[in-house]
């Protein structure tokens, strides 16, 4: 509980907060009105936990003031109405901005990605697909055309031979290197907090932690830009996680336009919760999935209250992004597919197999990624982030170029894998030895024995699987923006496509197997490898993140067919169970623990039967709890106390003998009040008595003028008895958002429990190092 706290009245803050801080400062006369006190004493220090109860109370008081005022004049009424609507207005703005940012990132990243291969000289701002969009010489549904020039072609070499291959190879690697170097350089110089995925930190922030600048404007800009660069560098990472971070930065930015949210950390988190829903919504084109993600993974204190508003925000963001139409397919994501083929009951077996694969991959990835991250954190290697990024980029580019499935953007790869072979597909993956009637009206998809193209593709995909699976371990955690939704999905999709094609060939060659029931009888096509890829992607993502409902809904929204929910659910469920068998935590929770953030998981059940007395400080043998007597201490004594002890706050008792609890006073309030009283020079001296009571001895008493500090006393601290089971205590901390709780026995104050004590206790019981919990 001995955490460090500086005594500066208000701490350094984001620049945009300045005007508020100023106005805040000018009206700080803490001895005047308790409401003022409540309203203004709201700032927290960096790396501290907020007090939800206090902030919510502050908001209630503010609301009361406004509604009282709004009866006075017409202008105040308008202000009151604006205040009432500001939540909706704010999420509207956040949604619009999130959609816009996602559009910019999508267009920019897909353009830059293709820059590694070539350029569209007549309209350099178009990527390969858009360059060939209107090209009349397209004969098949393919992406190459005469308008698009590879770099070697641009240099005038139009024959294809080893030389041009090597030239293109070198240019590819060079572009990749320069993109990633610029990215890591920008992050390091301008906004170091812009690196990583951001989701573990967002989870922690929404659970009530303060990381100053993490959601700042610079983080927003740098993360948006470097996200594009990192994706374009061909690294094994995605932009989906970082998009959630960017959306939260946007939420933070707009919340400052509305004092209701900008000046109240607890209320601000309502906006952030909606913003994270918008982030997922634009990242996957899944508004409902976004809301469920926000609910399941991110939101903490108010799961249901903000649901409707989050949904609105997510929809607005999706609508804006759709209007921008970044991929020209009127969908929000590159890899949107719409299946219509049914699935059969026997296919649940391979789907569950995919789930097992996903769970195993998740456990494998989490374990080794964590090991690598811990290695980076603890050893000297972490001191060379730029070199690390350069090496990983170099290796990635070097290994990725030869394989057509790793050379292209991972989104395109996933799209390719998800898509079912249509009658006009001529890619390797659809090269079946099949003759089919030209009756396009009942469009039969190609089906038959796998041709050489498919066999080649299988090998290349297998190599891609291994490459992606391993590279991601080293990529996630590097000092560039890096999400792992896309690489995980890619790994799963490759595995799914492999298994799917296998099952398909099995069904083709042995259509009468008992397993295939009558679904495949008569040589009918009964297996859709694209669906397997989708299920595999869900399974791998589920194994890594251990998301459940939100993942299923996101995948469902990606396909748009309710009938595929059951396969996806079967795979995700298996994957979660298999993954949990090897390690309970999803990657985000694991990173939260690795960093020691004070995150009290709202979903985990506490299974032990310890009681409050086991956790509370002071422990047996410790010096007694530092308390303040309500009417028996002088200014000097208190000042000494503040200097000697660095606790966050002090309980106030009737007297040290009885230990009957009166209230709780926060360190920063107390020290501020003492300073003010000293400065005011109205007779308060070192041996003035400090009274936390209503009744103060009048002037007939001898001695110096007393100091009344009752206004700053929190008269309703949360108390529990020493016999309270820990699960109840934890439930209180989680659900009520407490920072600390006082422990009593038969009415007498015994000790105190803080959030950090609880986190350490949980860590100890889980056989982890309790000292890993760093902040608070």
């Amino acid at each position: 509980r001995r955490t460090r706290l500086d005594a500066s009245g208000m701490s350094q803050d984001d620049i945009s907060l300045q005007p508020f801080l100023n106005s805040c400062e000018s009206s700080t006369n803490i001895l005047d009105s308790s409401e003022e006190t409540m309203l203004e004493f709201g700032q927290y220090d960096d790396f501290h936990t907020i007090d939800w109860v206090r902030d919510i109370s502050r908001d209630r008081l503010r609301h009361k003031q406004i509604s009282r005022k709004s009866k006075e004049s017409c202008w105040d009424l308008i202000k009151g109405t604006h205040d009432a609507w500001s939540g909706w207005l704010c999420v509207l703005l956040v949604g619009m901005a999130a959609g816009l940012f996602a559009g910019i990132v999508d267009i920019g990243a897909s353009w830059m990605s293709d820059l590694k291969e070539g350029i569209c000289p007549e309209a350099f701002w178009l990527n390969k697909e858009q360059c060939c969009w209107g090209s009349n010489d397209t004969t098949f549904d393919d992406r190459s055309c005469s308008q698009w020039l590879t770099w070697s072609q641009l240099f005038g070499i139009h024959t294809e031979n080893a030389g041009t291959y090597i030239l293109d190879y070198i240019i590819y690697v060079l572009w990749a290197m320069s993109f990633s170097v610029i990215a890591v350089f920008l992050v390091r110089t301008l906004a170091p907090y812009a690196c990583g995925s951001g989701i573990p930190e967002i989870k922690t922030i929404l659970s009530g932690f303060i990381i100053r600048g993490y959601l700042g404007k610079w983080t927003l800009i740098i993360k948006s830009v470097t996200m594009m660069l990192a994706v374009s560098a061909g690294l094994s990472l995605g932009k989906e996680g970082p998009l959630v971070h960017v959306a939260c930065c946007i939420g933070n930015f707009f919340s400052y336009l509305f004092p209701k949210y900008g000046r109240n950390e607890a209320k601000k988190r309502e906006i952030l919760s909606a913003a994270s829903a918008a982030g997922v919504s634009v990242a996957f084109g899944a508004p409902i999935g976004g809301v469920l993600f926000s609910l399941e993974e991110v939101s903490y204190y108010f799961p249901l209250k903000t649901m409707w508003r989050s949904f609105f925000c997510a929809l607005v963001a999706a609508f804006i992004l759709r209007s921008i139409n970044p991929f020209g397919n009127s969908h929000l994501v590159k890899f949107y597919v719409e299946y219509n083929t049914p699935w059969f009951f026997f296919e649940l077996l391979p789907f569950i197999l995919l789930g097992v694969f996903g769970g195993l991959y998740g456990a494998f990835f989490n374990k080794f990624n964590l090991k690598w991250c811990r290695f980076r954190k603890k050893t000297r290697m972490g001191l060379f982030p730029i070199a690390e990024v350069m090496i990983v980029t170099f290796v990635t580019a070097l290994l990725a170029f030869p394989n057509p499935y790793t050379r292209e953007n991972t989104s395109i790869l996933i799209q390719r894998l998800f898509k079912d072979c249509g009658p006009v597909d001529d890619s390797d993956l659809c090269d079946y030895n099949a003759t089919y009637a030209p009756n396009l009206n009942n469009r039969r998809n190609p089906y038959g024995e796998a041709g050489t193209g498919v066999q080649n593709a299988m090998w290349q995909l297998f190599l891609a699987l291994i490459l992606k699976g391993i590279l991601t371990i080293f990529t996630f955690g590097m000092k560039v923006p890096a999400g792992l939704f896309i690489p995980s999905m890619a790994v799963g999709a490759i595995a799914g496509r492999l298994i799917g094609t296998g099952v398909e060939q099995l069904a083709f060659n042995f259509p009468d197997w008992i397993l295939f029931d009558e679904a495949c009888a008569g040589g009918q096509r009964c297996v859709t490898p694209g669906l397997y890829a989708m299920v595999g992607a869900a399974a791998a993502l589920g194994g890594v993140t251990r998301m459940t409902v939100s993942l299923v809904v996101i995948m469902f929204e990606l396909t748009g067919g309710l009938q595929y929910i059951i396969p996806i659910m079967a795979a995700v469920m298996t994957s979660k169970w298999v993954g949990d068998a090897f390690g309970k935590e999803g990657i985000y929770d694991a990173h939260i623990h690795l960093n020691g953030y004070p995150f009290l998981d709202a979903k985990e059940e506490f299974k032990h039967t310890t009681i409050a007395a086991d956790i509370m400080r002071p422990r047996r043998g410790d010096p007694p709890l530092v308390v303040i007597e309500q009417d028996n201490m002088t200014v000097e004594e208190l000042e000494t106390l503040l200097q000697e002890e660095d606790y966050n706050g002090f309980p106030v008792v009737v007297s040290k003998e009885t230990q009957l609890l009166v209230g709780f006073v926060l360190r920063r309030d107390l020290s501020h009040a003492l300073d003010e009283a000293r400065k005011a020079q109205d007779g308060v001296v070192s041996n003035s008595r400090v009274y936390f009571t209503t009744h103060v001895p009048g002037p007939l008493d001898v001695g110096p003028k007393p100091l009344k500090l009752k206004k700053m006393l929190d008269q309703s601290p949360f108390t529990i008895t020493d016999q309270t089971p820990m699960e109840v205590v934890i439930d209180m901390f989680r659900k009520l958002g407490l920072r600390q709780c006082l422990v009593t026995h038969k009415g007498r104050l015994l000790g105190i429990i803080t959030k950090k004590d609880i986190l350490r206790h949980i860590a100890t019981l889980a056989n982890q190092d309790p000292d890993s919990i760093q902040f608070l």
Binding site: L126, G134, V225, N329
Partner: protein, 155 residues
């Protein structure tokens, strides 16, 4: 030549050999939504147009190249400015300013207590901007220490 137009009609038809090339896809740019029909898109129509066209599937698609152009140029501009500014911050400033080593003696994150006085004192616009920049720089410094040196957040 209408190569980069914003509207097209795309018909996917049964494969057909034209000029020694098997053709399945027919595109026509800059066409009204209503005219997106096989008969108006497939240029050399075969002999049995009705039967052929019944087997085609035409789709009208639109995009916004202008927006793409603007956004890509915007991204390039922002990227350029940021790189230049970062270069300035990284290379030039340490040379101009007096050497100022980052000092974080204690283990807790450091707070810049001396910020507000600055702000209050410098009433002029320029001073304000400058002080804001100073504060931002300190903040970035704190971030850098947390992330790269002490490595206690953002594993």
């Amino acid at each position: 030549e209408g190569q980069y137009d914003d509207r097209r009609c795309k018909c996917v038809c049964p494969p057909r050999v034209i000029n020694n090339v098997t053709r399945k896809v027919y595109l026509k740019n800059n066409i009204a939504r209503d005219d997106c029909e096989c008969g108006k898109v497939v240029d050399p129509l075969p002999d049995n147009p009705v039967e052929f066209c019944l087997r085609c599937e035409c789709e009208y698609e639109s995009r916004n190249t202008m927006l793409m152009k603007v956004l890509v140029l915007f991204v390039l501009a922002v990227l350029g400015v940021l790189v230049v500014y970062a270069g300035f911050v990284m290379c030039l400033e340490p040379l101009c300013a007096k050497p100022q080593q980052p000092t974080f003696p204690d283990s807790g994150p450091r707070h810049a207590q001396d910020d507000r006085p600055h702000l209050v004192r410098s009433a002029s616009m320029l001073g304000r901007v400058d002080s804001a920049r100073q504060r931002w720089k300190k903040q970035v410094e704190v971030q850098r220490v947390n992330v790269y040196d002490r490595r206690n957040i953002l594993s």
